[in-house]
């Protein structure tokens, strides 16, 4: 556990560098986290995924895995890899201010 400065704000992060308090998240922070991961700018499609991840995590208490996202957020697996290259499950969770999806354990 520690804190880091993102988009001018002091943010709580866990040892993997994921935000540990989703309430501290804001769209500005998402944009900053995305830039750090080499995604710039965030497009409408990205937001479609991020909005779903935020909603789903608020409901279920954890970040959705890629399969859950592609089934419910209106993006295909192929698009997920274009939007969030290499690790779409991990990256979409990170940018959405959530911890790693449990599918990664």
């Amino acid at each position: 556990m520690g804190t880091t400065r993102i988009a001018g704000q002091e943010i709580e992060v866990n040892k993997d560098g994921f935000m540990s308090n989703p309430d501290q998240w804001s769209p500005e922070i998402a944009a900053e986290l995305a830039r750090e991961a080499g995604i710039d700018p965030l497009t409408d499609k990205h937001w479609q995924v991020i909005d779903f991840c935020r909603r789903d995590a608020a409901d279920k208490g954890e970040a959705p895995g890629v399969r859950r996202i592609t089934k419910n957020a209106g993006v295909s697996m192929k698009e997920m890899y274009q939007l969030f290259p290499r690790g779409p499950g991990i990256l979409s969770a990170k940018i959405s201010g959530l911890t790693k999806p449990k599918g990664c354990i």
Partner: protein
Amino acid sequence: MKKLLILGAGTAGTMMAAKMRRNLDRDDWEITVVDQDDRHIYQPGLLFIPFSIYRTRDVIKPRSRYIPRGVDFITSEIDVIEPDRNRVRLSGGVELEYDFLVIATGSRIVPEETEGLTEEGWQETAFDFYTLDGAARLEGALEAWEGGRLVLNVVEMPIKCPIAPIEFVCLADWYLTEKGVRDKTEILYATPLEGAFTKPRASAMLGDILDKKNIKVEGLYSAGSVDGANGVLKSWDEREISYDLLVTIPTHMGSETIERSDMGDELSFVPTNKNTLQADGFENIFVLGDATDLPSSKAGSVAHFQGEVLEENLLRAIMGRPLVNEFDGHANCFIETGFGKAVLIDFNYDVEPLPGKYPVPGVGPLSLLGESEMNHWGKMAFRWIYWNMLLKGAEIPGVESRMSMAGKWS
């Protein structure tokens, strides 16, 4: 008469039937177990079939032999669970009512989920070893192997026994060395994980073992499709891996019964409380073993540890008492590393595998997170323990359901 119904007579369901028959009065409680067939497969043994260490007859016994006296066993496909009516419908139209339901329907591989995988080349140059048939056919392919590129691919997580892919490549290295064709073979392990395993210290340790054996690891690799005609595996981010022999661990899903009953998540695993094992939203339904959506490993040892918690909670639920939050995600696995050696790991939701001695702290005889011949014999002895102790719901001396930190050093 009250009714306890158990769906599935695999490791989890069979063990639970034995435990509950001992606990519940025969005059008050009827226990029924349903499974689609009478063939119990010792799943950890499937790994050894491709290398001719076990034959198929070594891993199959009748399920009915392990169902305890005083428990009804029905062989039938299960059509649908109707939780609002406390009822299960079997495929033949028979309806079974219950007071309490245990779902232990396991998980299965679904190779059809990967585009092209079951088309050209399937079971010619591409095989699974998670089914008896697949493991037996792969044995034939390895016997005929003269060299080339062997690729082991995990399509996506979760899979049963997350260490099986590592064991497979290690045993392949040993088998091909004995056969004299290791120097003509390139072995590659392509995984959606970042490295060899899910937990950092074990991943580093196992990564070293693979490195010494000259087994290459391609991490963060999510397979999207297979071009069987040309022997090419393609990831979603368009990395191509060519192969002469593809050993796939396909997508895993829960039972089709769960899907038909609309009780599963996107992979048909049942949303379950990770500590009490109660199905989310249903007070009289519990879930055990691979059928759950828990972030614990899908493995027999995990079902065993969960079983002790579920025994307590089912009895509590029956008596109307509060459930105990006990399951800690404890898993315990032997990892066969070839040449007569194995590694043993012990971990849970929060604590990753650490070095030490097991089960007696400081003494062993088994070594945690270290390679030894004794661990290999432990793995071989496990088959006897499985049939004679685990399935009968017996306690295994020295092996506790909650993970212990004694004898480990961090």
